[in-house]
Symmetry: C2
Subunit: 113 residues, 2 copies
Amino acid sequence: MRHKSFEDMDCPMAQSLEVVGEWWTPLILRDIVMLGLTRFDDIQDDLGIAPTVLNSRLKHLIDKGLLERRQYNEHPPRYEYHPTEAARDFEPVLKALFKWGLKWTTSPAGTWS
Amino acid sequence: MRHKSFEDMDCPMAQSLEVVGEWWTPLILRDIVMLGLTRFDDIQDDLGIAPTVLNSRLKHLIDKGLLERRQYNEHPPRYEYHPTEAARDFEPVLKALFKWGLKWTTSPAGTWS
């Protein structure tokens, strides 16, 4: 384990972070919930994330009830990841993060356009 | 580095995560912005976080302009960490995370009361 779990903390925010707080996870949810990407390869291309990391994050989100996996190709096996209501309900958090970033951070190019 | 940086990604959400996305950081901001804790020892007691980790997260938040450090005791040296406007402006994200957790997670005791 690279960090202590928040599982035992009696706070809804800590429990949220236990589900969605890992590095990469909010961006994966952005891709699926806000951009409508569902296929492993599309998400991987968009984020430039290592396949093993993406796989582990998706598995965690399925376990926690935020995603459903559906096979769309048999040979080779290929899967889509669809958001559940719990994932769609996470959109206000993503929007608040986006809004904060727009105000308080600068783009790598220097300014948000 | 334990993970790839989001620094080069041209998205306000990725830039937000670069500032506040590390493990523990949202809970540290909750303690400072919402609970009004400012002293190192109080935050550490509240979270049960390792001092070295807390120190590194606070330093990062100072570097990124979310906290200001003020000395309140000389011998031994003790510091308070005060939120800037950027940190106070992060409250909607914390509240959205709290609200999501209340709806979609369960407390370690079984249910949120």
